[in-house]
């Protein structure tokens, strides 16, 4: 990653990683019909930390990301981001808080009717009120960072899955979020395209102070970038700790079973 002054993200020496709590979920419960996906969940993430959620599918990991992105509403509990309520909160408040959060989806969800450039500049211009020139300047920097500068004028359908996902990462970063939510971002990719996307994310993890909340089945990647790993089962966190510990000497039987199944 370059360290010149045009780098899209720079670490601010004045705010070292890990100062204070950025995300807090308190007593959050989410049900789909009779099925309780999250059960009275408490957890928090500190500023600048990289937290990975692991666990069997259906254990509620993705639901947490979707709650934070306000794609879902919890049935009970409170959610706070950077000291501001995200739930319960007014629509106006939600819009403000949501500016601090970016998300990358499993299926990329790029806008097929827009070019790569416009996918990235659309929200900065219409939501943040950036000038078109400034937004495009920034989009170029981000595209260079994800290695797709030459595809700037193409439409998403002309790109491979891996390239689309890298554009989606650039699109999320263009909003300068404090938190980046990564929802199984490599699950929909052909195996040979996974590495390129993970490399980009490793770069971002290493060279920026953005807080990352990541749901993944790529355990090596999780080990590399995480400060903390949370093991989920049936809507609860059953084990938490630094990756070295979780992956090497898990305490819980369910964690051991899960890891032996995926590793």
């Amino acid at each position: 990653m370059s360290t010149d002054t045009h780098a899209p993200f720079e670490k601010d020496p004045g705010s070292p990683r890990g100062t204070g709590e950025l995300i807090r979920l308190e007593k959050v419960t989410k049900r789909f019909g009779d099925h309780t996906v999250l059960d009275n969940l408490d957890f928090s993430v500190d500023t600048g930390k990289h937290v990975t959620l692991i666990g069997p599918s259906g254990s509620g990991k993705t639901t947490i990301l979707r709650l934070l992105m306000t794609l879902l509403k919890p049935d009970e509990g409170t959610i706070t981001v950077d000291g501001d309520r995200l739930f319960p909160a007014s629509e106006k408040q939600v819009r403000e808080v949501r500016k601090k959060i970016g998300m990358v989806f499993q299926q990329f969800n790029l806008f097929p009717n827009m070019t790569v450039l416009r996918n990235i500049t659309e929200a900065p211009v219409t939501v943040l009120g950036m000038s078109k020139d400034a937004a495009e300047e920034r989009a170029r920097e981000l595209l260079e960072m994800v290695g797709l500068s030459e595809h700037i004028d193409k439409h998403p359908a002309q790109l491979s899955g891996g390239q689309q996902q890298r554009v989606a990462i650039a699109r999320a970063l263009a909003m300068r979020p404090q938190v980046l939510l990564l929802d199984e971002v490599t699950s929909a990719l052909d195996p040979e395209l996974v590495a390129g996307v993970l490399d980009v994310l490793r770069d971002i993890a290493r060279s920026t102070d953005i807080t990352m909340l990541c749901v993944t089945h790529e355990m090596n990647f999780a080990r590399d970038i995480s400060d903390q790993v949370l093991m989920f089962d049936s809507g609860r966190i059953i084990e938490a700790g630094p990756p070295e510990k979780i992956f090497s000497e898990p305490e819980h039987d369910r964690t051991r079973e899960f890891l032996s199944a995926v590793l």
Binding site: L71, M103, N109, F111, M114, E122, T126, V127, A157, A172
Partner: protein, 216 residues
């Protein structure tokens, strides 16, 4: 059967006049149905029954009753209410309104076919609702609905002769007038019958070409 080519030749000037009016009805009626149908489709998504129920009821009513009677209604009733338009304007509005109750279904299907991930991405980027519709959802929906809308344009073409009943001189109106004056029915009616077949065939070819272009 006697076929008189000179009657065909005599009719042709009137035929071209009628064709022009038919195409005029078709173009304007289509534009009204495209616009109004979109309005209905969007209103049906307003999350309150106070809007969706009346809109749904009115469009259902218009869709399930004959265009011809609707034409009579507008042509005879509006002047009683002190609103006067030319027969052509009334007819264009009626046919546009009638078909808007079909195009609204097309739009609805097109909007519902936009993947839910597009809405989610718009939320994640914090796009305002209006912008989400205009920049993300509708451009994708409209692309999907063009072929189906085109089919309704061809259907509408074949309903344009109904305007004859409210004195509009489109193709059939011209043919009838000519027939009544010259006592020759076979030639003008056959000419316009062919004209409809040819126009709708050409239109369906054009539509298929357009559809192929939209595929990618």
């Amino acid at each position: 059967m006697k076929w008189d080519w000179s009657a065909v030749a005599d009719f042709m000037p009137y035929f071209w006049d009628g064709l022009l009016v038919t195409l005029q009805i078709l173009v304007l009626g289509s534009l009204i149905s495209f616009a109004l149908g979109l309005v209905w489709a969007l209103l049906m998504r307003v999350p309150t029954r106070w809007v969706t129920w009346p809109v749904g009821a009115v469009t259902e009513f218009v869709r399930n009753t004959p265009l011809l009677v609707q034409l009579f209604f507008l042509f005879y009733v509006l002047p009683e209410w002190g609103i006067t338009f030319s027969a052509l304007t009334t007819g264009v509005f009626a046919i546009g309104l009638h078909y808007s109750t079909y195009t609204m279904q097309v739009y609805r299907a097109g909007i519902e076919a936009v993947p839910v991930g597009q809405w989610e991405a718009a939320t994640a980027l914090n796009l305002p609702l209006r912008r989400t519709w205009t920049a993300v959802i509708l451009p994708q929906a409209v692309r999907r609905v063009v072929p189906a809308l085109g089919n309704y344009v061809i259907s509408m073409l074949k309903d344009t002769p109904l305007l004859m009943a409210i004195t509009v001189l489109e193709m059939l109106g011209e043919a009838r007038l000519f027939a009544q004056q010259q006592f020759q029915f076979t030639e003008p009616l056959t000419v316009i019958g062919f004209a409809f077949i040819v126009i709708s065939y050409l239109a369906s070819l054009a539509l298929r070409a357009l559809e192929r272009r939209l595929v990618h």
